[in-house]
Symmetry: C2
Subunit: 341 residues, 2 copies
């Protein structure tokens, strides 16, 4: 099976490669190609099973029509959701996405970006990890089009599509307070990531505005150095909470992963939700599906995020002058995990 290129089909039809290129790129009318020759070219291409060589085309046009997507961890539900949304939207714009997971590690993150740039992606959509500010600055220096998703750095001016984490957390906390909870324990990672700090802040401000004093023990910070130790770290933290003087009556988890680990432990301890403890989560984990009660949570609009990320990037790739910082609203999905007290 010999391979068919523009040249082969040109010979076959008895025209030049240029004509074939025009026709096969839909510029037949624009370039005023004879209707009949155009048809013969189309036909020959179909018959000979012509397959355009996008690599050659990319080399020439300096556009790979590929966007690189760096997510934090393929195992997050967030990642699969956003990936799906991005892929779908990218396809509409005729972009292929190549994708990689940093596993929340700075070194892997840098490596991925490097691979993508060598492959000459036209742009990047990035869920940044901790301590990757330098990488981001580098991208700016090289004038690589990129947009951050989900997370951003307040100290660096970039395009990003994120959630209004402060507000989402604030709203969710208020919901708990409205239910009568006065002793809410917020469970977050120990992290430097801004979006997670914003969730802390939303929590604290809501308490304050309701005249509830913030007790030190009511913010649990779970170490996150090792993905395999989350469960045991959550256990340790929750044990501490149970032993504290404060009689906590609600748990608010800052991520779905934390929530699912926390709920697992509650199951183990046979502590009933919401009878003994109300539970609130950020985002939904697949694991909630089979929990005995539906979990009230703050839902991120993944599809919207993905869509806007792609659209922003596409604009950027045409014209480096776009500047877009988007904070989307979360939806509070009411389940049965918070009781009235």
């Amino acid at each position: 099976m010999k391979k068919i290129g523009l040249k082969e089909i040109a010979e076959h039809v008895g025209v030049s490669a240029a004509l074939v290129s025009y026709v096969l790129n839909g510029q037949a009318v624009e370039k005023q190609v004879n209707k009949e020759t155009a048809e013969r070219i189309e036909l020959a291409a179909a018959q000979l099973n012509y397959r355009p060589n996008n690599i050659a085309r990319s080399l020439k046009t300096k556009k790979s029509h590929t966007i690189g997507l760096v997510v934090a961890d393929i195992n997050y539900r967030f990642s699969t959701g956003i990936t799906r949304a991005i892929e779908e939207e990218a396809k509409k714009h005729n972009y292929t996405v190549i994708y990689g997971s940093s596993n929340e590690r700075t070194d892997k993150f840098a490596e991925l970006i490097n691979v993508f740039l060598n492959r000459r992606v036209d742009g990047l959509i990035i869920v940044p990890v901790e301590n990757c500010e330098n990488q981001i600055l580098l991208l700016q220096r090289y004038e690589i089009p990129f947009v951050l998703v989900d997370r951003n750095f307040p100290g660096i001016k970039t395009n990003y599509i994120a959630l209004d984490n402060f507000k989402a957390s604030y709203t969710a906390t208020n919901y708990l307070i409205d239910k009568g909870h006065k002793n809410i324990c917020f469970v977050n990672y120990e992290t430097t990531l801004y979006h997670l700090h914003e969730r802390n802040r939303g929590f604290k401000v809501a308490l304050k505005e309701n005249g509830i004093k913030y007790k030190p023990g009511c913010l649990l910070e779970i170490p996150n150095d090792n993905r395999d130790e989350i469960y045991s770290n959550v256990k340790i933290a929750m044990d501490k909470m149970f032993k504290s003087k404060t009689p906590f009556d609600a748990l608010f988890f800052a991520t779905d992963t934390l929530a699912s680990n926390g709920l697992k432990y509650l199951n183990e301890l046979n502590i009933k939700v919401p009878d003994v403890l109300s539970v609130m989560s950020f985002d939904q984990s697949d694991a909630f599906e089979l929990f005995y009660c539906s979990i009230t949570h703050s839902r991120q609009p993944l599809e919207e995020m993905g869509k806007q990320a792609v659209n922003t990037l596409v604009e950027l790739m045409d014209n480096m002058k776009v500047s877009k910082q988007v904070s989307l609203e979360a939806d509070l999905i009411i389940g049965q995990s918070c009781k009235e007290v």
Copy 2:
């Protein structure tokens, strides 16, 4: 920021582009490049921030060092698992993977493969969907290196890495029978996919060998045309089961998605596992995590599958003569969802 190519660094150092190419590709010794010039080249490349253009390289070498991965549905735990494994192994071989999800649809499947081929992937790793036999045959005709994963077609001789589905199902069924179950209901999709039929067969043979007669009602086939209707379809099927004369005491789900939908319904009906009904599953869903009892299931060796798929493909890409049909063994993971009767 002007871009740096081989030529630029060649000029900078005062040598030819060829030399630079040799050095930067690690052929410095092989091509007997002067040690000192080599160093100057390396240095210049670093200083000027040289970034190889893989597109140009690919055009020349006719190797994209990319493999295309087609999974069935990004939302399956199987998909993320296998993707991760494949990525990891591919990186060891210096391949990038570009990836797409067919969403179990034949048209999307064909389209994905087409995109990948136009991008000149060096090979494909494919989880085929129903009725895609023609696509597969086409790949063979074009002599595109590919390996099937998870699923294969008995009528087409291809390379594949799959599970010994018959045996896994047979073993799991025997486990239930050993526990004293005589009225087991097997829940599978209504499908033409061979690997799922093998699971049916394993179930039936196990029954037969144990002298349990196969009653028609004990195989539930769930329509799978619409991913959004699975839950209601599972409900309908299970209702039928509850109404049948046979007093079923065990449910064996052929996939984790079916199992998690089934368990959800059991929750809704407040039917206790394993007290009222024992439950067995194929593979584990994230949703099992928060179910009140751990689910006994047949576990596929995803990492191994991914690894072997990549390795087989790599061999294939060097030498079209490889022929490998692998059936891996599942592990039966014992939980608390099956009681002794």
